[in-house]
Symmetry: C2
Subunit: 327 residues, 2 copies
C-alpha cells in the first residue's frame, strides 16, 4: 500500500525517524536507565519496539495503559506514574506493578487494591501531583506499615522539560532534582525516577528517566535542539482552494491543540476547525494534493487516532493500533 492510498486524515510515522530516535535514546540511556512513558504513544506495538531496544521497564499514566501493557506481555516492570483512588484493577494484573502515591489516601487505595510496590511521588516544582519533599519519609513509612515495598521516589520536572534555553533547563533541572534527592534520603529505596524528553541528557541525578515524546517528537520539542527528529504527521488531503488560502481535511479532532496550531511545510497555518485546517500556502497547491500536518503536541494528537501507519518513503509498511486509548 502507498501513502496515497490512505483515507485521510491519517496518522503517519516515518519508520526511519522512529528507528533513529529509538536508537539514539537506547545508546544514551541503555536498558533500565530509561523507562519509556507509553502515555506519549498509547501503542503496544511501539512499546515492543522500545523493548526490542533494551528498555523493558515502562511507565504509564492510566489504569487502561497498565492493563493493555500487561495484556501485551510487556509487564516485566510497569510503573503507574500517577495517583489513583481505586487500585483494584491494578492488584489483579499479571505483571510487576508499581504505583505512585503522594498522600495517605492514595497509599490506602494502593494497599486496598492489592498493590505490592509503590514509589513516593514528590513535588519537584511542577504544580501537579507529588508530596512535599519533607513528607516523603512519613509516607514511605506509612506505605511500609500497610505492607507494601517502597521502591524509591519519583518526581517529574515537567515545568523544566520544555525550557528552550538549555543553560536554564540544566539549572532548573538540578534545582528540582535536589528536592527529589532530599525526598529520596527520607524515603529510601533503589529508584530515583524522573525526567522527560527535554531533560533526558541533563538529568544526571535520577537513575531512570521517564521519557515519551522522543519517539517521534513534535514541533514544540523540535525547538530544543535535541538529537531526536520529528517523525509524526497527520496526512491530509487539500479539499478546497481559494485565492488567498487552502483547506485540508484534518482539524481539531485529529490534532492536540493545547500547544497551539500545528505546522505545514511551506505554508502558514491560519486556523483549525473540527475537521478542517485553513492554511496559506507559500507555493501553489491544488485540490486533491496531500499535505503533512505536523502536530505541536504528539500525546493528545495520537490519542485521537485509532491507528498509526508506518511509512518507508511512500510505502506503508505497517499499521499499528493505538490500543491504549480511553480509560
Amino acid at each position: 500500500m502507498k501513502i496515497y492510498d490512505l483515507r485521510t486524515p491519517a496518522l503517519v510515522a516515518d519508520v526511519h525517524v522512529l528507528e533513529h530516535n529509538l536508537d539514539t535514546m537506547a545508546a544514551a540511556l541503555p536498558g533500565r536507565r530509561m523507562r519509556p512513558h507509553v502515555k506519549a504513544h498509547k501503542c503496544t506495538a511501539l512499546a515492543k519496539r522500545q523493548a526490542a531496544k533494551g528498555h523493558v521497564t515502562f511507565c504509564c499514566a492510566t489504569i487502561r495503559e497498565m492493563e493493555g501493557m500487561a495484556a501485551a506481555g510487556l509487564g516485566e516492570d510497569l510503573l503507574l506514574a500517577n495517583e489513583v483512588l481505586d487500585a483494584t484493577a491494578l492488584g489483579r494484573l499479571d505483571a510487576r506493578v508499581t504505583v505512585a502515591v503522594d498522600s495517605d489516601a492514595t497509599i490506602e487505595a494502593a494497599a486496598k487494591g492489592g498493590v505490592k510496590e509503590v514509589l513516593i511521588d514528590v513535588n519537584v516544582g511542577l504544580p501537579r501531583c507529588g508530596c512535599d519533599p519533607e513528607d516523603a519519609g512519613r509516607l514511605a513509612d506509612l506505605a511500609r506499615a500497610r505492607g507494601m515495598q517502597v521502591r524509591g521516589v519519583m518526581g517529574y520536572e515537567g515545568h523544566v522539560v520544555g525550557q528552550e534555553d538549555r543553560g536554564l533547563r540544566v539549572l532548573q533541572c538540578e534545582e528540582s532534582m535536589q528536592l527529589l534527592l532530599r525526598a529520596h534520603g527520607l524515603a529510601g529505596g533503589d529508584i530515583i525516577s524522573a525526567g522527560g524528553t527535554g531533560t533526558y541528557d541533563c538529568n544526571i541525578w535520577a537513575n531512570e528517566i521517564q521519557a515519551g515524546s522522543y519517539v517521534l517528537l513534535d514541533t514544540s520539542y523540535a525547538k530544543l535542539g535535541l538529537p531526536f527528529r520529528q517523525g509524526l504527521f497527520v496526512w491530509s488531503t487539500v479539499i478546497s482552494v481559494a485565492p488567498q488560502y487552502a483547506v485540508g481535511d484534518c482539524g481539531l479532532k485529529s490534532l492536540g491543540m493545547d500547544h497551539g496550531n500545528p505546522s505545514i511545510d511551506d505554508a502558514d497555518v491560519f486556523f483549525c476547525s473540527d475537521e478542517h485546517i485553513t492554511f496559506i500556502p507559500k507555493t501553489p497547491v491544488r485540490v486533491g494534493d496531500r499535505i503533512r500536518v505536523w502536530p505541536a503536541h504528539i500525546d493528545p494528537t495520537i490519542a485521537y487516532h485509532e491507528r498509526l501507519h508506518l511509512i518507508d518513503g511512500e510505502d506503508v509498511i505497517d499499521t499499528w493500533e493505538i490500543d491504549l486509548r480511553g480509560w
Copy 2:
C-alpha cells in the same frame, strides 16, 4: 449504577438537560427545518433521540459519520456537509446521500463515486470551504452535466455563530445569507442550508439549519444567552491536594482545548496536562472527591471518548457508544 461507580475520567450528560435542549430546538425548528449536525456528538444513539423529536434529516462532517448513520438506520436524508476527493464509499451507502461540492474536482469526485445528489457549498465569509457565490451557477451546471441532481446550496456562517453581541450576530448573519441567496439564485434547487447553534433563531434566510452543539452546549456557547443549557461534563476524581491547588484526573486527552481551558464549579482552572487538571478550589476539596469539568468546546471533547454516560441525578441510566469517531 451510580455516577460514583464510574471509572474516571468519564464523559457524562444530564438527561434532563439533553431533553430540554432537544425539545427546545424541536419546538423552534420542527422537522426538516432543522438538520442536526452529528459531528458535534458522533453518537448514533443521540441521533436517534433527535430523530424521535422529528428531525430525520442529518448532516455529517466525515465519511465515517455517513457510514455509521446509514448503518444505524438513520439514512433517510444524509448530507455530507464537507468536501471529499474520494466518494466511492458514499456512492455505495444504503441511504439517501447528498454531498457538498465547491469545485470542479469535488464535483468530478462525487460523480465518479456514484453520488446522485449534491449541494453547492458557498463561501459566505468564513475562510474555509465553499465557492465564490458568483461561481455557484457554473458549478451547478457542471454537476447537472455530470448527471447529478443539484438540491440547492449550503453556506456556513461559522465566523458569526460565536459572536457574543446578538445585534452584531444578526447583522453579520444577514450579510452572510445575502451571499448565499445570491448563490441560490444562480444554482437553483430547493434547499438553502446554513446556520449553527448560535444563529439557529436569527438565520431566517436558510430553510434548514445545521446545528449540532445545542444538544449539550459548552462554556463557549453558554455565553450567548441561548435557551439551551450546558449538560455535558467530564467526571473526574481529585487525586492530589496541595495547600494552594488540587489536581483532577482528566486533562488534554479528555478535553478539546482549542477554545481554552475547561471550567470547574467553584474553582479556577490553572492548567491541564495530558491526564491532569490543576485547579484552585474556592472551597476545600479532599483527595477522592469528584468534580464536574465543563469543556469549552464539546465537539473535540466528545471525540476523545468511547462512550457517553447519561445521568438522572446520581443514577447512570444509560451508556451510549460514541460510535462515529475516527475516519
